[in-house]
Symmetry: C3
Subunit: 667 residues, 3 copies
């Protein structure tokens, strides 16, 4: 498998390159990602290309037998280009044209920008498309930003015209009759901007769709250009982002060979590593992007992150732990950000594997030791199966709808999805990220959290899934919106009401201290009580059984959690942001009833089971920074793949931040 | 009396109208407010009017025998208009032209906008001015926003020229000599905008006056247009706003038949209902706008409010309670916002009497039951007298002066005025909102809180009021400013010093933890102690008696509360934001000394006494959400107007959120 | 010595002037600062000067035998000028041209503005350059603001061209290769502005340098104009600002006769006076600006400060205390802001010695009493020596580098510098503010806090200082940056590593609760423990001795505080924001080892020793507001200069806010 680094030779004198490459080689690395910020070198003035520097870079790297991923340099167009073609500069939502500086100072809706990108991509493909050491291309880097200028508005109007064909249809789908916003000409349509009150949510969702499609189309155009001019041996990827972005990851990745993303368990303004389930979910998302195949980590944190503020310094063991988590959850390659801390420019305080002084030390040694211990079995390991019997729904459009209307001051999409993901992780249940297009028949349980913006196709699939015996977990605010991001006229939970066997007539963002008292009344919740937060759906059971109710004067007869039989299956509805103490035993019983085996893991311990035809693998990861912790191993004797620990069975104790991968021959 | 709803037929298919109107009729409603957001339907392109849709709306509504208030559609000018005449779009205080979207996307200073409004108003008046079922017109909707563009600047300059005639006078009144801001031409004058430091406060106050007058003039112009073309039978109103707005409510309402306003005891970002005195004060304000007559609630909250955040869900009983509070305090009609939650557009998550699914349920049934119980006596009740012996001063200009210079980080105009209003409410004392133009002779006590920006006419009236035996309560920061919003040269409290019998030489926004220790020394405050907050005037008594002093090293000899005899009257001065525990006994003694009867009501219980020649009415309202509470009834036997409770006397107990209106024949 | 006031005769009627001047005279004042905001009066329209008003002002003031400082009126250019030449208006960092209003509404990069200033300065110099009563000129007032407009950008580009000569050099020094920001033409260079991510730190530092130099050059130009046309008897100064400003105080003051500044121990948003060391440090800064000579306070707070919020009301005794602190620490004149509170305009709520009503009261009486008691000895006192054996490093460029990259969310330059200054103050150690140009040989100890942006010249001086036996205290983040504001390639602390005898391989902004546990292991820290905050350098001692270590799992073997012998000297390195409880004993031992005498002063008691050939002076200042406090006097009998207290020796007790200056004849 590939272990690589992000390397910026343009930042270092030619005489240093050999030292760096020698050190990389010795550390067991076999891949280098280069080129992302070198446009001014490759095209120093309009139309004049000069590849001598990149030729030399590639020559030297390959002389050390390292493979290369070439990143197109399009994240940061050169100063000369922006000065000559200021239409490329993006515009903020309050109408301000942003200046040159940092990166991503362009709008994809500028034809000039797109033309420059195409020409440069072609020139690079022509030159390096059959270069032996170039094994792949990266098209875009974290392309997540929007722009609100004149060019963007015109493109939005055209996109809308293609989508709706007539203004009558657009007015109807957007409900412009509300507050008299009926359009009588396409040019009247604005981009969402800072106005005295909120913009139309249907329009806002379409603006996000427009931007996601714009990014996808631009990516596809570059991809086709490269396909035509490069060896089929060379793969193509794109560095994706999975939080709070206007990106349709599956769409953008569809034509790519590899889905890849950056993972930063801490950031400059995140002062402690987030809980392991948060990173696990991101890995699941990237693994699911191409249905479990072809997934890389293109940027794995290697030192303290920093912009003008500096973040948490990863402790000894973190680099290995995060790498193990990545490959255990499906990554086929890990590329570290970055080889060495820059001496100059914006992100100069952000650390790398080497620090500013270029001396190999702790982080380098950790890396070296880790690659050595992985060498013998990594290829077999990453080819093993990741069996999952639980599907977890995530769709960017649903996230956008929540971002447009968060509804509760306490609501955070990331936190609420994590609320309903984490107990599965804590019960040692593997999850796949699913969407409406997926074949769901392999799963026993589907978790469909905060399913606010509904998809008719998914609604149908879920009904059929339950009918055939599957188990589904829904949560508050299910079934509220149709695909126009308008409210369904059906009684809540709308299209899902019969599936859940309930109706909801009253609901609210929880007032006062933001919590409701919940009393369990049946099943796994019997005799348990606790709190719910963020939101309360006051449920009227129809066919469903009540598992928990709200306590309090006015809505105390209302259900908080229900369970319904539908066909051969079972459907749960959780009406509020249920606290973990109640959610964990509920999930446990749901999984067990669905025939899944669960284990209550110790806090911040993560287990991942993989297998090949003949071998079982078990990754055991202690994410606790200051605490040793135990893990219960499945039956049988296990062997440490790194050969450091002796064979073990039963209960083992891990040091703080210890991570091991065990294996066992199937009998 | 009228019970109505805000209805938006444009949002629903024609076939639903009949269902809605039938349901309204059955709920006991007799009025519908329509038309506010239908400009694009009525004038689909410039100059082409098409009233067929509105004809149909009116025909169908009147076929159900419901009366109609027509709202002019001018809050939301159509997309085509703004696209063709972009000068209509408003400009923010940081110079950004805001885009189309939401509502109120216009500046009244645009001649184009005003002309379009006049033409449309005329066309509507011509068509519906003698329509039987149309009983009234609403001219403007919450017209509270400012604009800072070129058109506004030119209008401001002309307004200033009319006001001051010469630049010499303007320079003098504004004190432009400070920081060398002398103007030598009218065109040099800017609008207040975001500049490195604060703008001249005299200029800022004039800018607010200019805007208030601009709104009033525009309203009057439309009013005159309608008067000319409509039956005198049809009344004219305007939906006012009473918090934090640049509106001269009395001026704008002067030519109107009815003053009306919206009341939202909770909002999307107010998670629990505000204390009952807060809503009571707003009702007093609207009742006082036309001196106790012709006051409507045009928007009464009926469900959970929501923008992109959702607020508190009113509990069973709230709708009735708030309606009872409104009519008890003088409202002659109540119109609920809104009939049904919208499926599309910006405010789609805001609830109505019906929710998105259009099914009549709890809220509908509450409404229906309430109108039924009010039917028999409501007309008599709303015609009864609301006797008040205490006047409470409020003038928008004073509020603006405080907004321009809040002086203390703890200061909030709403909260501080409420501080000095609430104890009267808690002592079962009726208050009228008064201004300098009013005849004050009927009152025994005047409360004049945070009287910062003084009015010479009021100063004189207050002196004469006290001389004749009246009682006045002043608070901190009295008498600081003249009508230029400049500081008086006289020793504080300026023109009011002799009236109060004190001087103030030292004062401050309270530092450290923001409180001062207060020790009562005489009268009702003797042997009491507590805290003051927000501000401290360190008072030097001249003729006044000291009731309380500050404790602490440096200013401990200074008075905090004083009492002065002036003529036959008595004048109190409260030098800090006195805590409720001290304010309540002080008010009690003041009222009793002035010959008023007081009752200490239980927490959040409200009593309102009304009467006709032969009958006494008593509204008893328990605003406690989760707590039953007692109320002491005045002498005699009382009968429940709704006929539900049996006759009662003495002490009664109300369920949480229970509201009743009792009556008694005068003997 | 001079005691003066800031007086604005333009705000008051001519007939009041005599009253004011008579009161000033009686209060013992002998100087008036006038003219700063009178440009519209002096030049009512372009090119037409009218000095009759100022003639009269000067005539009347001198008739009372008060001396005059004339402030150039350039802080607030007139409305007519900005209307005719809008290029003068400044532009914010987000590209918004700010409107007229308040003050400082100009950019110095406007040639029009500079020309108007020169002409006006010349005209004033010509007229008053030999005026007897005019003893000095003030050129600029708090000139601290930046502008980001077109004129500024062009000036910045020219400045860069002068500095770097070629784009190759600029690209290299700025490291534009990072994120592909290479410039190929000077016109491509932007000003730092709000962009999606942070701007290049090298560019940002250069932008600050450009602005500081721009202000200095403009000041020098005016200075030369005045020098040519005025008597040499008249001095020239500039009202400087010492916190968070883009000002090179020493550069701007180099050609001036007097350095002066404003001091505000409380402000509208600072609700309690800052600790005495904070003001002491500001006084040290201004005294150091011209190497201990010619330092004035041009604005000393006299009443409660206020913008639209009002701040702390200085207690009786504060005015005297702050004056005593100023003259004890070296001020040769104190001018109070301001004579009387303005009735109109922006800062109308800010108090003066007289309040709005113009009546002399408490503050006036305090002032009068104080000047009387100072009269007899002030001239001798301010001429006495201020002996300091400790130098404290401060360089604006280092402050700017921190502002550009604060690195830790807890970091505040002011607070962190104060952390390392205050213990010296508390140990009764005098400090001088030093820079790399200074002769350091007179000092025994140098404190060089947060020395992030290094200066090669200083590095060399520090080495030689230590070699010869001096003691140096360094702190965390020493030696990180070179003068390009780029990171040094050498292992930390870079050029200072051998001097400190350490290396630093790991470091971080402290995560979690932001503190680290520190355990003392040797010397003064032995057996002490406590916390560090803000930042942690995990130190590897080379030659240095370890005085304290970090506790905690991962970096517990790392040093937190070290001590190194270098030549004949000693060098300390403090790796974190050490808490005061640990810093104080450490400083104590360091000073004592260096041969300095220390005294642990009581909390908020300040002592200042001065001396002439024959006399010792001792200022004893109790900054405690509510608490009397003791002070230990040095040996011998002391006499109160004000003649109020009897002779004293040993321990004396001061009332809250009491301040006295004692003297003793040298034997």
């Amino acid at each position: 498998m590939y272990f690589g680094v992000d390397y910026y030779p343009e930042q270092w004198p030619r005489e240093r390159w050999e030292t760096d490459l020698q050190l990389m080689k010795e550390a067991g690395l076999n891949l280098v990602r280069v080129g992302g910020f070198s446009w001014s070198i490759l095209e120093p003035e309009e139309g004049r290309y000069d590849f001598s520097w990149l030729d030399e870079v590639i020559k030297v790297i390959s002389s050390y037998d390292l493979d290369i991923v070439l990143e197109l340099p399009i994240s940061a167009p050169p100063a000369w280009m922006l000065h000559q073609y200021p239409d490329i500069l993006p515009v903020t939502s309050d109408g301000r044209k942003t200046g040159f500086g940092a990166q991503r100072h362009y709008t994809v809706n500028s034809r000039n920008y797109r033309d420059f990108c195409s020409k440069t991509a072609s020139a690079l493909a022509e030159r390096y498309g059959s270069e032996e050491s170039v094994v792949g291309w990266q098209l875009g880097n974290e392309t997540v930003h929007l722009s609100y200028g004149k060019e963007d508005q015109v493109a939005f109007q055209s996109w809308l015209e293609r989508k709706y064909e007539t203004l009558e249809k657009l007015n109807e789908h957007w409900g412009t009759v509300f507050w008299n916003q009926t359009y009588s000409a396409w040019e009247q349509i604005h981009v969402p901007a800072e106005i005295p009150q909120e913009d139309n949510p249907s329009m806002q969702l379409d603006f996000n769709r427009f931007w996601a499609e714009t990014h996808t189309n631009f990516n596809n155009k570059l991809m086709r250009l490269l396909r035509e001019q490069t060896d089929s041996r060379q793969f193509i990827t794109h560095n994706l982002v999975y939080s709070g972005t206007v990106q349709e990851h599956r769409e953008i990745a569809e034509g790519l060979d590899v889905a890849s993303f950056h993972t930063y368990p801490v950031l400059a303004d995140v002062t402690m590593p987030r809980q392991p389930a948060a990173a696990a979910r991101k890995h699941d998302l990237c693994r699911g992007t191409k249905q479990g195949k072809s997934y890389w980590v293109t940027e794995e944190l290697s030192g303290a992150p920093s912009n003008n503020r500096t973040g948490y310094l990863p402790r000894p063991g973190h680099l290995k732990l995060w790498t193990y988590q990545a490959i255990a959850r499906g990554a086929e390659a890990v590329v570290y950000f970055r080889w060495r801390a820059a001496l100059r420019g914006t992100e100069q305080l952000c650390q790398g594997i080497l620090d500013h002084d270029g001396m190999p030390r702790r982080k380098y040694n950790e890396l070296k030791e880790m690659t050595a211990s992985l060498q013998t079995f990594a290829d077999e390991y990453i080819a093993s199966d990741f069996p999952a019997e639980v599907g977890f729904y995530h769709n960017p459009e649903n996230e956008w709808a929540w971002q447009i209307q968060p509804q509760s001051a306490q609501f955070s999409y990331e936190e609420e999805v994590l609320r309903f993901y984490e107990p599965a992780h804590a019960l040692n249940i593997h999850t796949d990220m699913i969407q409406e297009k997926d074949n769901l028949s392999a799963y026993k349980v589907l978790i469909v959290p905060v399913y606010f913006l509904t998809k008719p196709a998914l609604n149908e699939k879920l009904k059929s899934f339950a009918e055939k015996g599957g188990t589904i977990i829904f949560t508050y605010r299910t079934g509220v919106k149709n695909s126009d991001n308008a409210v369904h006229e059906k009684t809540l939970p709308g299209e899902l009401a019969s599936l859940c066997g309930i109706e909801i007539h009253e609901y609210e963002a929880l007032p006062g201290d933001g919590t409701a008292q919940i009393k369990g009344t049946a099943g796994p919740m019997k005799n348990r009580s606790g709190t719910g937060s963020v939101w309360a759906d006051y449920i009227e059971p129809a066919e469903a059984e009540v598992l928990a109710v709200y306590e309090g004067k006015w809505f105390e007869d209302k259900a908080a959690v229900t369970k319904n039989s539908f066909g051969k299956g079972t459907v749960y509805y959780i009406g509020c942001g249920l606290e973990r103490g109640l959610l964990l035993p509920l999930y446990e019983e749901i999984f067990q009833n669905a025939g899944l085996e669960t284990t209550r893991l110790r806090n911040k311990v993560e287990l991942v089971q993989r297998e090949t035809k003949h071998t079982k693998y078990l990754a055991v990861l202690n994410h606790n920074i200051d605490k040793k912790e135990e893990a219960e191993l499945p039956d049988g004797k296990w062997k440490d793949t790194a050969g450091k620990e002796k064979d073990c069975k039963g209960r083992i104790t891990l040091a703080p931040l210890q991570s091991i991968i065990l294996k066992q021959h199937k009998s």
